[in-house]
């Protein structure tokens, strides 16, 4: 133990930060370290690229909510997402950057950022073969992100 628990007192009103690191017998994994905008921009590609790992992890969590139960599956999920984000950075960095900057400026709403989103989707399909699909959309119609003349859209195109 590197640190002993100090009861937070009124004079030193700092939040208690756990100094201990994760046990050494567990394999190390780098945390994703990405903020919400880039993650939201990449969400559907993470869902498409890491489908097996994500489903495996969620099935494991359905077995038992104990954090210790699914550490191995969780590491696989994080490694897969890191892998995808590295590939996105190598292949579609400019398009990804433009899209998540737009999301950050538009309250992280997809429908206000269709233009950069379409260039990103096209780049992801051409370079990595990943397609954004929203599950449960009505059959026989273009999906909402591919709609030509949407009613809800940005005022300025």
């Amino acid at each position: 133990m590197s640190g002993t628990y100090q009861a937070p007192s009124a004079s030193t009103a700092k939040p208690y930060i756990e100094p201990a690191s994760i046990p050494d017998e567990l394999p190390k994994v780098n945390e994703i370290g990405t903020t919400s905008g880039p993650l939201k921009s990449a969400a559907f590609f993470i869902g498409a690229y890491c489908k097996e790992y994500n489903e495996d992890f969620m099935l494991c969590k359905a077995e038992d909510r104990d954090p210790a139960h699914c550490l191995k599956e969780g590491r696989r999920v994080t490694r897969c997402a890191t892998d995808l984000l590295t590939k996105m950075r190598e292949n579609c960095f400019a398009q990804w950057d433009a899209h998540w900057q737009c999301l950050e400026k538009n309250n992280q709403e997809y429908y206000l950022c269709r233009k950069p989103e379409r260039t990103l989707n096209q780049c992801m399909f051409e370079r990595l073969g990943l397609v954004k699909t929203v599950p449960g959309s009505p059959e026989g119609q273009p999906q909402i992100h591919e709609k030509e003349r949407p009613i809800y859209k940005a005022m300025q195109k």
Partner: protein
């Protein structure tokens, strides 16, 4: 005697301005405009449903990633808590640090909020 060429016609028609479009026409145009508006409203409602679905799925796709990270953090904290408890209670015979107070193997978080 009448003047040559006869008398001029008597102006017996009322000299009124145009009445404008008829009531039936106004009603019909109003109905058409309203019908178009309601059609757009319905299309917009369908579109909003799809936008909500898109937003929900973007979050669903990120849940495993965020949950895995939160689990690792919760596990690290729980291990530290158990080690601290073992150090404090090391002179109590038979004490098991981190043991549940319930006779039930089901996992219970020590916090009110699940670590997500």
């Amino acid at each position: 005697m009448p003047p040559p060429g006869g008398f001029a016609h008597v102006q017996y028609k009322r000299n009124l301005s145009l009445r404008g479009p008829s009531g039936v026409l106004i009603l019909g145009v109003t109905c058409l405009v309203s019908a178009f508006g309601f059609y757009r409203l319905g299309q917009g409602n369908l579109e909003q449903r799809e936008l909500a679905r898109e937003k929900a799925w973007s979050r669903i796709h990120l849940v495993p990633l965020l949950l895995a990270e939160g689990d690792r953090d919760a596990y690290r904290r729980q291990k530290a808590i158990d080690a601290r408890e073992a150090a404090i209670m090391n002179d109590v015979p038979g004490w098991q640090p981190g043991q549940s107070v319930y006779h039930n193997p089901k996992y219970r978080s020590g916090h009110w909020v699940l670590p997500l």
